[in-house]
Symmetry: D2
Amino acid sequence: MPLVALIPEPNAPVELREVPAPELEKNSALFNVEFSEVCGTDVYLQRGLLTGVPYPLVPGHVSVGRLSKIRGTLVDIEGREFREGDRVTFLDVHRTCHQCWYCLVAKATTRCPKRKVYGITYGLDDGLCGGWAEQIYLKPGTLCLRLDADAETFMAGGCALPTALHAIERADIAIGDTVLVLGSGPVGISGIILALMRGALKVFCIGAPAPRLEAASEAGADAVLNFEDHNLGERLEWVRERTGGRGADVTIEATGAPDAVVEAMRFTRDAGRVVVVGQYTDHGETSFNPHLDLNRKHLDVRGCWGSDFSHFHRAVQIVSDPLKSKAWASLKSRLARYSLAKANEALTAVAQGRVLKALIDPGQR
Amino acid sequence: MPLVALIPEPNAPVELREVPAPELEKNSALFNVEFSEVCGTDVYLQRGLLTGVPYPLVPGHVSVGRLSKIRGTLVDIEGREFREGDRVTFLDVHRTCHQCWYCLVAKATTRCPKRKVYGITYGLDDGLCGGWAEQIYLKPGTLCLRLDADAETFMAGGCALPTALHAIERADIAIGDTVLVLGSGPVGISGIILALMRGALKVFCIGAPAPRLEAASEAGADAVLNFEDHNLGERLEWVRERTGGRGADVTIEATGAPDAVVEAMRFTRDAGRVVVVGQYTDHGETSFNPHLDLNRKHLDVRGCWGSDFSHFHRAVQIVSDPLKSKAWASLKSRLARYSLAKANEALTAVAQGRVLKALIDPGQR
Amino acid sequence: MPLVALIPEPNAPVELREVPAPELEKNSALFNVEFSEVCGTDVYLQRGLLTGVPYPLVPGHVSVGRLSKIRGTLVDIEGREFREGDRVTFLDVHRTCHQCWYCLVAKATTRCPKRKVYGITYGLDDGLCGGWAEQIYLKPGTLCLRLDADAETFMAGGCALPTALHAIERADIAIGDTVLVLGSGPVGISGIILALMRGALKVFCIGAPAPRLEAASEAGADAVLNFEDHNLGERLEWVRERTGGRGADVTIEATGAPDAVVEAMRFTRDAGRVVVVGQYTDHGETSFNPHLDLNRKHLDVRGCWGSDFSHFHRAVQIVSDPLKSKAWASLKSRLARYSLAKANEALTAVAQGRVLKALIDPGQR
Amino acid sequence: MPLVALIPEPNAPVELREVPAPELEKNSALFNVEFSEVCGTDVYLQRGLLTGVPYPLVPGHVSVGRLSKIRGTLVDIEGREFREGDRVTFLDVHRTCHQCWYCLVAKATTRCPKRKVYGITYGLDDGLCGGWAEQIYLKPGTLCLRLDADAETFMAGGCALPTALHAIERADIAIGDTVLVLGSGPVGISGIILALMRGALKVFCIGAPAPRLEAASEAGADAVLNFEDHNLGERLEWVRERTGGRGADVTIEATGAPDAVVEAMRFTRDAGRVVVVGQYTDHGETSFNPHLDLNRKHLDVRGCWGSDFSHFHRAVQIVSDPLKSKAWASLKSRLARYSLAKANEALTAVAQGRVLKALIDPGQR
């Protein structure tokens, strides 16, 4: 009976539980978890801040491990069959339907109403569907990807990497652009690395706390500013000084704070682009001036929700490449590993920003 | 000595004045005004709501008339020389520098800090630079366009038409899309016509007052709703009923009211586009929810400032075409003509939305 | 036993045959054919010019009819269940896999190697999978669309309409553009109508024979030229005279003749766009000058293959709309109906361009 | 009297000549040449292969040097005034008119018919307008850029860098893409570096001769193939082996050989992009199959002509950045310097591909 760590209900602590091993349907598989992730979304889950979440729930949406059992056939996007023992990861999003208006007409598959997410919208009643567990049940249709990369390097990107890839795709960075990243959590850090990988000349980061800003610098940010030590006017001045007085060409908002969205608009030059990728739960309203902040600036403000297989695929490509993976490899020292039994501690560390990212390591006792 | 109607200072009534005839520099011209326009911007000018405006000022940025005198050479974009007596209009924006960072690197010429606008940022001290006058002095470098269209049909579009063309360009309408236009002033009405011209299947309009909504219907809106008679919840319901419960594919905000920007976000379907083209002066702040209104919706919100020569050129093409001009031709009955002496009445009529558009007709006594 | 008209092998005449009624799998349906289409692809099929086609084959990829029997559940993209008796059409492309590299990474679903097309790559061995038949078996996963439009208006667009919609989507037409359509077959004619629907100011067409050029004029082309009566120099001159000497902003190639692709490049202005949508089978090579025809012109040349559900969906929206469908409704007089027994005559008429489009009407005896 | 090296007429050897020092118009400057470039275009010029070129002509379109004399005011795009003694480079393209249809409506300024290019379409009769000279006369309106970079690093990119930047901009490379560069001359080499800078995962290069392929490897190409040692079938096989059997996502053609354009199409995966940037003079026709090479492939083929100020500006940004400039800095050893007197030798070395790039160094005796 595999062991899982689950959130029994909103605001309750994580509990360990043994659950029955699943019976495999045709073309499904069992996945032995090597690492799963603890991210900001998991903090929200524990606090009951996301809608449409079925409790009890085993969190952990991005994981790396091995296929321990396959029933039927499981193939990758090249049509190559997986075998038991293969090291893989899998797209946490399942059941994108490819049959609804959002999938087929709007081609906005991250807004497909049928999609389910392992560890978020699949609860325990749906089966072994979260990564804080010894095993995950990969239902038929789950999209697996072979992973040759170092497991911890992959997890240093984790779910933040495809999210940031989507944001960068939406950001239309040109070679030579100046990019400002608001937020120094995992999405912000991957955003910094990817903005540079896209040809940005300078990347700046405003965030907190100090250790995360160190990580931002290490990731390649040309300058960082601690949000907590400077008021809005100072922050604006700091950005302008570094951007010819105009503001950044592109700002990536990855903070979680509603006000940061408006600041992103103010920190960006006229006719620039703002990508909003940090507002994954409802933290309330904020106020802005449509004339000054948007219309007269001729600004583009782009919400960016979720990610699709292409982002996950590119994330795996990047972390599997000796050169391109370097920035994430160097973040490995900032990961903290926790056993299933210490999942509550992991959540606390993430909530406080004490670690860049916490990993659940079910093999650890 | 040509007669002009000018705003001596903010909040003062318009006055008539005779001013000396200009001396023509090389490659400049004198333009006899047939009609000039009274638009919402002129109301703002009179109330002192725009920044960077030099008073005293002769308003009137879009005009139609004849070249009465040319000194040197004046050519159109095809290189064909203009002759005295030609019926023309001209791009109100002058001195886009094509030498600064905004012009050459960002390629955002409507944000060029050097640009001057006849009737708005050129004041009386700059010469005969507004259309509420018997004559306009076309400085060297002013871009003129031959106008074969009926003068009033052209003015039924007026400055709103290039503005709306720019907004429609930013809106990425696909054939079959549902478009919602907020605002039933001149920009909104031209937006309705252009959205249909772009292949929208259905166009809806929320605006006020009733006569302008009639114009919206006449312009092709499938349904209109009076903003003043329905609260936000009702308006949202009205939109959803007409859009499969999802909201419009594209919303064009053309109202002037800050709250309308947020409503536009709420009235638009996930992964849709909002173009903000109605916030031409500072009417204060508004508040929104970045999670619900932007990020989770995967929404694009696009400010749209000013217009450039391409929009003006296309506006002239459209109103000169027998078929494409029809919708504006049918709006001619909604124009009201005023003599220079009655410019104050014209402003009042526009401010109150009593007419769709007021024209200054300097030939009228 | 439903009657079908089938091509037994390449270059053999079409034969009538009775085939056993299919057994319905779960979530499949039986479709009673009202009309099916005879298009250029069917001529290629009969001549054995397409690769990957399994003979014997029942042609007919776009059809309209009624669901006579449903086993299990069949829903539209809004999630509304279909009922027996509903008038529908269906996307001829089946089994786009949404699991391969082309579907998920390149997002080029029309290049998915798994896709099958009713009436083209599904042969008789795959079941009742072509429209030249009394019935079609709609396999599970077939995407159906409710059709409220007049059946013949829909068929006047037929398979050419989604094809042309895809081409127009790739063409990036701006309001005011001049569009040149090469070819006056069904794709060309729908291309003319759609270019105008997209805001093109002028649309020109070069094609043949005369009756199809009449149809082009009726569809809205401002001027047409008979390809057979003018040599290349004359055709080029004809285009330049109508485009300020520069060439068209956009050229849609919809001819089937390799040389037309190069002519399209020459007929287009510098920095314009050429969409190649007429080369659906291999008619050999053609020769061009990469310096003069492409690089110096800063030209975009865009191949356009197949169509996806979004194009089909929009096609149905358009022909169901009272205003937008008018151009196709007026083409109905140019349709010729044939019974199943007269399918060979239908093919000949299409091959010779004697009719704009031939319909197979299985109800006709 | 400044010394220049000039081509007296097509196919004649370069000659030295002393010419009178220019008189400076208002807002013009004199530029002391530090280095000017010898590129493939200069070889074409000497052979009379370009149209619209006025002989006698001083070649050399991209140069670096110092402003030795300024009459009036010269400002950069930030509005900062230049001073005598400043190290600068300047955009070789002059007189883009910003008043014609191509500039203002098509927004395709590299196709402006009024533009003149120093060292190419400005001949000796136009003044001291080429870089193979001790001095260049910078006419009013010439766009200068401050250059803090190492002069030779800048010249290692030279005119190829903005050209390649334009091509990369047109290529729409996504992070993780595989890019194939055809040609290992300066444009190809800069294309390799920039493709990587844009996030390409793998870049391959097919070119010749061997020393240039070494440069390609040094610049970051993952694998290179000598064009001369492998036939088309082998080259195709080589590409497919490295691209999952599909072909490259993006191919940049930078060869000068017409056949390479068709090969580029064949080496690219379905729904990929080909940028044609190597066909700067007329080397005749080539032949392709529109069905197999373009339409069925759903391919985008994009001609790319010239470059504009934005590309030049970004080129200067890149070579001025300590990290981003590294790849070009490491190419410095592959530059060969020639005195004005040895310009003919420089041309021969470039024509034979013996050097990556030759520089004219007027200070060398």
